[in-house]
């Protein structure tokens, strides 16, 4: 499908690795002893039936959840848990399953919020909105406008995001994540609830981000066609366990996967 990608896998270093991670809520075991890695520059899909632990996995990676066991190695640094701030500062950006935008703010302000960690001027200048802080604001604004152009959302930049249709909200959310200039982008069902055209647009954006910016992407998605087209490698979860890991073709042929996921009629 994507020949250059295969070469990339062979050459790619590991950007993030989770080892033997387990997570439970009370008696419910959401994740059981899962290990996998994400290599620099790849698009990694995490799939599995509902309740398989996919979103929990993303929440562990960006520090929303603290796993009871296991280790996370990101950019060569190993730790027992991520903290959300460390994850963001280290270059992990994400979007959410049901869109988590700042609803009262404009699309532009939402994406500007993604620049928070890049802006460093002190409170004093901030309060006065003067001098260096003003200059800084202008510079970041320029970067954000580039993202807005890239995602073709110029027409809605001043619109309150709460009023936008769902597909555009997802795009703004992607923009906010991109504004962080992430090394690793986590996308939780980026195409959920979209029509075919919107899905095609979103797929193109994801590929562009991966190829032009070289951003590593981990995504959860239910649309198998999309997963197989986009991703370099796929990890399959079921009931909190990892049941398969490999290229889309390998995974498609895996009997466990067929049983657990693709083959079972609902």
């Amino acid at each position: 499908m994507r020949a250059p990608a295969d070469l990339k896998i062979a050459a790619g270093d590991v950007l993030l690795a989770v080892e033997n991670v387990s997570l439970s809520f009370g008696g419910v075991k959401a994740i059981r002893d899962i290990s996998f890695d994400i290599r620099k520059g790849e698009i990694r899909a995490i799939i599995g039936p509902n309740g398989a632990g996919k979103t929990s996995m993303l929440n562990v990676i960006n520090g929303f959840y603290t796993p009871q066991q296991g280790r996370i190695t990101f950019k060569g640094k190993t730790r027992a848990k991520m903290r959300p701030h460390d994850a963001a500062a280290g270059g992990i950006a994400r979007t959410f399953q049901n869109v988590a935008l700042f609803r009262g703010m404009t699309a532009l302000d939402n994406i500007m919020a993604g620049r928070t960690l890049c802006m460093k001027r002190g409170l004093f200048w901030q309060a006065l909105r003067f001098g260096p802080a003003m200059k800084e604001e202008v510079e970041h604004r320029r970067y954000v406008e580039e993202i807005i152009d890239f995602l073709h959302i110029q027409h809605i930049r001043k619109t309150q995001v709460g009023r936008l249709p769902y597909g555009l909200q997802k795009r703004v959310e992607l923009g906010r994540a991109l504004a962080m200039e992430p090394d690793l982008l986590l996308l939780d069902e980026p195409m959920a609830g979209m029509n075919l055209e919107e899905k095609e647009d979103m797929s193109r954006f994801i590929l562009d981000v991966n190829q032009h910016f070289g951003t590593t992407i981990a995504l959860i998605e239910h649309d198998m066609g999309v997963v197989m087209d986009l991703s370099d490698r796929v990890v399959v979860l079921d009931y909190g366990r990892k049941i398969a890991d490999g290229t889309p073709d390998e995974v498609k042929r895996n009997q466990d996967v067929i049983d657990a996921y693709l083959g079972v009629a609902h």
């Binding site: 960006n62 929303f64 701030h85 963001a88 988590a100 935008l101 700042f102 500007m112 919020a113 928070t116």
Partner: protein, 318 residues
Amino acid sequence: MDLLYKIFADPFIQMGHAPDLLLQTLWEGLVGGMLYALIALGFVLIFKASGVFNFAQGIMVVFAALTLVGLHAKGVPAFLALGLTIGVMFVLAVAVERLVLRPLVNQPDIILFMATFGLTYFLIGLGELVFGGDPKVMIASELYLPKGAIDWKVFGGFVSFQKIDIAAAVIASVMVATLAVFFQKTRIGRALRAVADSHKAALSVGISLNQIWVVVWFTAGIVALATGIMWGARSNVSFALEIIALKALPVLILGGFTSIPGAIVGGLIIGIGEKIGEFYWGPLFGSGIESWLAYMIALVFLLFRPQGLFGERIIERI
């Protein structure tokens, strides 16, 4: 008939006969309203950013003023005392974040609300312990706040403006304008609004909730200090001030819990409504309506616009 005349005609005739008195009443109401607005502003800041209705806002006003006056009474020069009080409000903000908000994160709102009750009584106790519970005089002249009044001859009479009231109006306006710009246009302001909208999204872009909470509580503390100085200069500094903070409730209902302009406009409406009501309609009810009129106005308002003047409209998609 007579009653209707007294309600609907007589007060307006009085207003027409003595426009200087009307102006005077309006001014008094405006100044009172501004101080209500400042207290409400403290509530709004904290509510917006952390979803906590901070019952302790009223006592923070007293506590800040008391600290300032108390430090000065212990021999600290006025402006050093002012600086130290700002420092105390910062320590308070950090302590609240560490000891109250952080351990209670993700708890239901009602629990955080109750925690602010606890904070209220803690601050009352601490204030009384350190500085004593007796009413004190605000160190207005030491802080170079103006004294006396300006009389404006008009309509054959005169309107008297207390200089301290004019100073209060100027300080309040500057403060509100600064906060508005800060909220709308800066990184931290944007982060504050972001936290108000969605905690998890804010976390995901690297905004630190803890830092934001310290910032809002500190800002609310500064607003409380300014309110305390101005209110203290008009009457005196005592725990009775806390009751006045309850007037911020109708202001919030009027203005909406999440809107800064709402807090200001709401404050002014309540302040002016109260004074005009008391002066022109008060005698009809045997006076003393000032103490409940604000709540009446809020109640009527609640029937027609439950989200307040500027509050976000409550729209649920089903």
